[in-house]
């Protein structure tokens, strides 16, 4: 490993990791702007041009708020829960390749923080951890509404994780790899998983729906559910602890959008157009822009749905998860296997 490679890696890690908090702050602004647009309002427009510095003002406000630990709360669980909510959601970003690899010192240099060959497993593990923050936060607050919110969250996330993983396995079977960089380069050579009709398309739809439940967004925001459970699991949280839950939710939204783009929409590829660019640096740059556009599409979809649909009841949500999505995803997985074994898809 040469010095240039090492320096490049350090720069890459710093840039890519800091992209998550920046994206989170931009997302809070985008959420408020898009919701304002949907609801005939202006949204934040006082702090900076077009309200651009609003997230900074929000962040500062959170820092200066008083931190309260309610009487009777479990101090350890209460304090560790926000970190557990935000940490895993941010760590998933480590395996996402943001664009095509470039050459440093003659070696290929991947644009993911950790270019590991078990990327998919890493993502599954991390998204499985996400539930603990909410569950422990709800339990540790010594508040009945929080408890109900935490229990709802754990039930919901576990049931939707299954169908989500089934649809990811479909992708793994189709591409034959667990490395996210190879998954998108496979799609660049063939076509996007979304167009592997019908199995790829069904897997995409299931992943999309389950991603809503995984990130606790409406219509599946039963854990928070401010009109039923006051604030759900974060009723008792204030200051940066509260902000960390929010950062967790938004970074989960961001990483889920990145994964959707990588798994099903070919990541930075665009029908072989970008791979045909000779200069590696230019290819990486344009690939990044394409990837950003795809991610932005999903993020907008997330926000759009949140401000349009009503919310499910928890038993209806379980019904959808266990009785509809899970059987479909298992059947889809079997169909994929059969199609690959018979050579229809290869």
């Amino acid at each position: 490993m040469t010095t240039a490679f090492l320096i490049a890696t350090i720069i890459k890690v710093l840039v890519l990791f800091h992209m998550v908090p920046i994206m989170v702050s931009l997302l809070t602004l985008a959420e408020r702007k898009v919701s304002a647009w949907i609801q005939f309002r202006y949204g934040p427009n006082r702090v900076g041009p077009w309200g651009l510095f609003q997230p900074i003002a929000d962040g500062l406000k959170f820092f200066f708020k008083e931190e309260l630990v309610p009487e009777g709360a479990n101090p350890f669980l209460f304090r560790i829960a926000p970190a557990l909510a935000a940490g895993p959601a941010m760590m998933t970003v480590a395996v996402i390749p943001f664009t095509f690899p470039i050459l440093i010192d003659g070696q290929p240099f991947s644009m993911a923080i950790a270019d590991i060959n078990i990327g998919v497993l890493f993502f599954i593990a991390m998204s499985g951890l996400g539930v603990y923050g909410i569950l422990l936060g709800g339990w540790g607050s010594n508040n009945k509404w929080s408890l109900l919110g935490g229990l709802r969250a754990s039930a919901q996330m576990i049931s939707y994780e299954l169908s989500m993983m089934m649809s990811v396995i479909t992708v793994v079977m189709l591409t034959g790899t667990m490395n996210l960089g190879e998954i998108f380069s496979f799609q660049g050579e063939h076509t996007w998983i979304l167009f592997f009709f019908p199995v790829g398309t069904i897997a995409f739809v299931i992943f999309l729906i389950a991603a809503f439940a995984e990130t606790n967004r409406l219509p599946f925001d039963l854990a928070e559910c401010e009109t039923e459970l006051v604030g759900g699991f974060h009723t008792e949280y204030s200051s940066m602890k509260f902000a960390l839950f929010f950062m967790g939710e938004y970074s989960a939204m961001f990483t889920m959008s990145c994964l959707l783009a990588t798994f099903f929409l070919g990541g930075p590829t665009f029908f072989g157009l970008i791979e045909s660019i000779d200069s590696l640096w230019l290819r990486a740059l344009i690939g990044f822009l394409v990837f950003a556009a795809k991610v932005g599409l999903f993020l907008f979809f997330y926000i759009w749905v949140r401000w349009t649909l009503p919310r499910f009841r928890w038993d209806q949500l379980m019904h959808l998860g266990w009785k509809i999505l899970l059987p479909i995803s298992i059947l889809n997985l079997m169909a994929t296997g059969i199609l690959i074994a018979t050579g229809v898809l290869s």
Binding site: Q39, G72, V230, L309, P310, F312, R313
Partner: protein, 432 residues
Amino acid sequence: MVTTKILEIDMGKEMGKQGVSPLHRLLELDPAERERLSQEFGQELHEDLMTVNMGPQHPSTHGVLRIVLTLDGELIVDAEPVIGYLHRGKEKMAETLRFFQYIPHTDRLDYLAPQINNVAFCQTVEKAAGLEVPPRAQAIRVILMELMRIMGHLIYVGTTPLDIGAASMFFFAFREREDLYDIVDSITGQRMNNSYIRIGGVGNEIPDATVKAITEFVDGFPAKVDNFEKLLTGNKIWWDRNRDIGVLTADEAIGLSLTGPILRGCGIEHDVRKLAPYSGYENYDFDIPVGEVGDCFDRYLVRMEELRQSARIISQAIRNLPKGDIYAEDRRFVLPPKEKVFSSMEELIYQFEVVANMKVPRGEVYSAVEATKGELGFYLVSDDGPRAHRLHVRSPSLLNIQALKTLARGRYISDLVAIIGSLDFVMGECDR
């Protein structure tokens, strides 16, 4: 009420910390009681239940209603509404205030549709005094009351979907409400709590520009209701959250003395505007929508249709607005015009007499109107004086809350939110 025994278990101690508030306790069910309730709800209950205070500060209790919930997980074993957090003694105040002084206080009952309360009160006094209101004033009252009905129902259209999660509906409904505020402001001079109705008439003439604005509003309004329906009626989630939730049979509804959209949702064509027409409602052509099942969804549909029917009534009233006075010509109860007071001695005396010494004949009268929440009635005992001897308000909101316990038992917390929304009560009117 479910009988329970308080256990000496607190969650805080279990988690290694002391000093837990007495609210955080678990309730142990009596085995026989548990057996009975398990049969009633068709599922095995756990041994420990949990009490939760829903309200008075809860986002979806629509004001300051408090509900003491006894929960088995998410299942509501018992729901006990606690009212009175907004009690201001409005009925008692009527005994010390002169009739015209009391009109602004009626605004504060159902503050979402204040003019209907004004009319209901003034109509009661007029009935006791034997006053005839001129046709033009009656028509203006009808226009205002129907505008208020639209305003009141728009609150339902905004807040109930908000409680169920469709936050944007709130803004769509309030956008229409803002237009109505402008119209009402231009007639009455106030956006809320307008106190525009007077005993024997209405406050002042409708400006010509407002007549045009109202016509434009009612012409465009049915299309906007269609838009609301596009977002909700065909929506599968909205359907699931409302269909077969909070089902009331017609007999139950009558037994709970429910009126208004809730009773109509149960399939009974009960509407004071048709049954005992007041203020010239017999001259207008409109339909009474009724539901079939009596669930939250039917109540929603009934209210949506009533929005359209109200627009229909307003457009008839505004097109055939009669000419003439807006005040009854009865100097015993109605103030003389201001310019005459300044120029004529007799009129000045009349002015003084009405303000200081109005004599509403001794007697007891009851008069009701169809308010947005149901039948709003005033029962007045007058004592040949300028004040009520006793005034009672039959407030539909109070009676609507009665249904809450029946509807909530055996359902989930999420359903309770939908049920509260569909009962559509205002705590200002309930607590008075």
